[in-house]
């Protein structure tokens, strides 16, 4: 920003970029400028068009109209390789790394031309030292934490000496402390005149880190602000278009006997890159929500699949209302009043190509939807319609296929279906992942209401804000172990963050 005032060209300038997909206008005449050394935020809800815009800049998608100027000169960027040649680097939210080879080999794989592994390893170490991204180039990738993997992705970009670095929701996989370290790195990088495009929907981060921000809503620019000069609620209002809703929580009526108890649960990982559960114990009572925090990949996937019954464990390791059920099948547990909302909506929680009716039948068949082994179509349709109406699912009716719904609406449907089963115990993984702010607040309220009606609710989430918003008690998972849950009022965000990074004695073995 200030650099351009001195007369130099902008690093990147977008003029009236428009991109239309069948049935949706992803970007509608979006313009923005990034100066050398500027940290520029692109802020917006899921589906606001941020990702499309970044893909256009990175050459992965072509714009229908508009102009991209790179250092003052109009350029068309045909593909990501061309973008990299110009000096644009991108760190995606989901990493594109190979698990079974080392850091340096991963980086070499993405490079054009020939390479010398030994020299490359040296370069990586040097670069890492310079920017505070220490990493051993010879470590195998599957030994690395998510934060370390992100370092690899960033180093891969830095090796190309980029003039613009794009980061897509970089802190979604980090503990609060690692996020702070990432910010240091980005500031150092900006000081060397590298521009940074920072995509996020987290307002605090943007206010802390970014010099300027472009706010997108429904594909259009609705504001360009200096985030340090406006309040968080002002930013939120710009992003959502109205005052964001908040959740109401009344103290619950805690029942004395736990409805779900996990007793010294240990099990092997799902695959060779998973995490083994080690001696996990937890009680969830009717009337409360217990949150499980943690950076993804610390055993949460294993925990929920053992709780749901998709995997079984020792009979005594798990009890529903006092009855040992560790070796029970999914359907046996469901008939005891367990319901489950998985993290993956399409393909696990719902069948993509089937109608909402069929997807209601998927777990709702116990609710009088069958007659002598045959499906009662009219009741199935009615059940699906009830869910759609009650939970405000935006769709074309009960015959719409699950994959025609947006992520947020499908989540409303799945959550609605499981809540309609009136579960005694509900397990929810990532309840609002990828869901817009209004729908997320709604879903959180539904969870609170369910628990206040007496159900035991266990929420596994990577979003600390969310857990602090709805939970009565919070526990943390780290490398397959679980910390003692603590009442939310007694938790501080920083402490939980340290636990997520494995710091502290909470994970020492009981022995």
């Amino acid at each position: 920003m200030t650099a351009s005032a001195a007369g130099g060209p902008q690093t990147l300038e977008l003029r009236a970029i428009t991109k239309r997909y069948p049935g949706a206008l992803a970007n509608d005449e979006v313009s923005l400028c990034v100066a050398p050394g500027e940290i520029h935020a692109v802020l917006g809800e899921n589906g606001a068009g941020k990702s499309t815009l970044m893909k256009i800049i990175y050459g992965a998608v072509q714009a229908d109209a508009g102009e991209i100027r790179w250092q003052g000169i109009p350029k068309s960027i045909a593909n990501p390789a061309a973008a990299r040649r110009l000096g644009i680097g991108m760190v995606y939210q989901h990493f594109s790394l190979f698990e079974s080879v080392s850091v340096v080999e991963n980086i070499a794989l993405g490079m054009a031309g020939t390479f010398d592994l030994r020299r490359l390893a040296l370069q990586i170490s040097e670069l890492g030292d310079r920017y505070g991204l220490p990493i051993d180039p010879h470590r195998l990738l599957h030994h690395l934490s998510m934060g370390e993997r992100q370092r690899v992705e960033i180093l891969r970009c830095l090796l190309q000496q980029p003039k613009l670095l794009i980061l897509d929701e970089p802190t979604s996989v980090l503990t609060p402390q690692s996020a702070q370290r990432l910010f240091e790195v980005l500031r150092k990088l900006a000081a060397t005149d590298c521009s940074i495009l920072y995509i996020s929907h987290k307002l605090d981060e943007i206010r802390e880190l970014c010099d300027s921000a472009t706010v997108l809503r429904a594909g259009r620019v609705v504001g360009s602000v200096r985030p340090k000069e406006v309040s968080g609620s002002e930013l939120a209002r710009l992003m959502v278009g109205s005052v964001p809703p908040t959740v109401h929580r009344e103290p619950g009526n805690l029942q004395s006997a736990p409805r779900l108890s996990i007793r010294r649960l240990s099990c092997l990982p799902v695959d060779s890159f998973g995490t083994a559960l080690r001696d996990v114990s937890l009680d969830v009572h009717g009337g409360e929500i217990v949150g499980v925090a943690g950076v993804s990949g610390n055993g949460q996937a294993e925990l929920v699949s053992v709780l749901s019954g998709e995997r079984t464990c020792g009979s005594e390791m798990l009890a529903l209302e006092g009855m040992p059920v560790g070796d029970y099948s999914v359907s046996a547990r469901r008939s005891l009043g367990l319901a489950f909302v998985p993290e993956e909506r399409l393909g696990r929680g719902a069948v993509p190509h089937l109608s909402l009716g069929d997807n209601a039948l998927l777990t709702g068949h116990g609710r009088g939807l069958l007659r002598r082994g045959f499906v009662d179509r009219s009741r199935v349709t009615q059940f699906a319609r009830d869910i759609v109406r009650q939970f405000g699912v935006k769709c074309a009716g009960a015959a719409a296929s699950a994959n025609s719904l947006s992520g947020g609406n499908l989540q409303k449907f799945i959550m609605g279906r499981e809540i309609s089963l009136q579960p005694r115990v509900l397990i929810v993984a990532q309840p609002t992942w990828g869901v817009d702010v209004a729908a997320a607040a709604y879903l959180r309220q539904q969870l609170i209401d369910l628990s206040r009606r007496g159900a035991a609710v266990l929420v596994v989430s990577e979003e600390l804000d969310e857990l602090f918003d709805i939970c009565d008690r919070i526990a943390v998972m780290y490398q397959g172990r679980m910390s003692q849950p603590r009442p939310r009022a007694a938790c501080r965000m920083e402490e939980v963050g340290l636990l997520m990074a494995g710091v502290g004695s909470a994970f020492d073995t009981a022995a």
């Binding site: 061309a82 099948s329 696990r348 069948v351 499906v375």
Partner: protein, 355 residues
């Protein structure tokens, strides 16, 4: 440099789905014309002999339906499993064992049972097929053995079992040492529907199976569960649909239909057992199931088509004296175009320029 890529279409058109077989048939005709030409045959005449001649007489139609019936019956049973990704390719073996069990009843009780013999043979055929199918089901559910390999290999075991039986224990003592059983008595045979033709009441069994399959697909909960297991196994596990139940059901149903088809063939056109009792029905039925897209009506049409290809192939061999391989090439072309049309309905081909 160009690169071809398949891209999923948002919503396959219903019209195209219905029109695809016709387009495939036209393309087959076009592609086979030069083939016939190069052998000195008149393409139009050849096609007429292939497709029209076999159906030009009442007897031809009887033969057509008679051949289609076991194909459709077996394919219906296989489709149950294919919907749940249980790949039974051992129908040929189950068909053989079904025929053997039915034949054993026919040869031992041919005199006494009369009215109840044929139903008993049907039961024996179905049970024989199921017993044969129980082997891969047991191995798959208990030892995770791949059902494709097990069912495939059991085909050969069944064929050898049949060869042993007709050369030994079940051989006709008055049969001049030919490897075949005695002919079944009249009460062990289906009576022809019309005099002078071979078509018999067993086609109604196939029709009944079609109705059952239709009910299974359209409205049974177990059919729904199997569909979900097939298209989204993770969702099926999430919902608690038990995999082992699907495997057992798939293999039992396909075993029963294949065994029944074997019995119908033995008690129908064959009337006795010999080392070869099938022109490959068990394998052709796999094609029928896929050409029919696992739908009840589709399987019926697929069975009729494949049966016609059998008859047409024989007809051109006989009247034009062409080699058997040409008839097979033609059948292959047709299936190629049918399946490609199917892919192109669901996907579009995109040409991408590589830089």
């Amino acid at each position: 440099m160009f690169r071809l890529a398949l891209e999923a279409r948002a919503e396959p058109q219903r019209f195209m789905r219905l029109g695809a077989p016709i387009v495939a048939l036209l393309l087959t005709t076009l592609a086979s014309a030069p083939l016939f030409w190069s052998l000195g045959l008149n393409p139009l005449l050849t096609l007429k002999i292939f497709f029209v001649e076999p159906l030009s007489t009442a007897n031809g139609i009887s033969e057509w339906l008679l051949k289609a019936s076991p194909l459709v019956l077996i394919a219906l049973g296989l489709s149950v499993g294919f919907r749940a990704n249980v790949w039974n390719i051992g129908a040929e073996g189950m068909y053989t064992v079904g025929a053997i069990c039915a034949a054993w009843l026919a040869l031992h009780f041919g005199e006494g049972m009369h009215r109840w013999l044929l139903p008993a043979m049907m039961l024996a055929g179905a049970l024989g097929g199921m017993a044969w199918a129980a082997i891969p089901a047991l191995l798959k559910t208990r030892a995770s053995a791949n059902e494709i390999l097990v069912t495939l290999m059991l085909n050969y075991v069944a064929a050898l079992l049949l060869a042993y039986l007709v050369n030994g224990p079940m051989q006709d003592p008055e049969g001049l040492n030919y490897p075949q059983t005695a002919s079944f008595g009249p009460s062990a045979l289906f009576t022809p529907l019309w005099k002078g033709m071979r078509i018999n009441g067993s086609v109604f069994v196939t029709l009944a199976a079609m109705l059952l399959y239709w009910a299974f697909v359209e409205s049974s909960f177990i059919g729904f569960q199997m569909k979900v297991s097939g298209i989204a196994p993770t969702a099926a596990r999430y919902a608690g649909f038990r995999q082992s139940r699907m495997i057992w059901l798939s293999l039992m149903v396909s075993g029963a239909t294949a065994g029944l088809a074997g019995m119908m063939e033995a008690a129908g056109p064959l009337g006795q057992l010999s080392p070869v009792i099938s022109p490959g029905y068990g394998f052709a039925a796999i094609i029928v199931a896929f050409v029919g897209r696992l739908s009840p009506l589709g399987v019926l049409l697929g069975g009729l088509l494949l049966s016609l290809l059998y008859l047409g192939g024989e007809a051109v061999q006989m009247s034009l004296n062409v080699p058997a391989s040409l008839a097979r090439t033609f059948q292959g072309l047709l299936l190629f175009f049918l399946l490609s049309a199917d892919v192109l309905i669901a996907y579009r081909v995109r040409v991408r320029r590589r830089q």
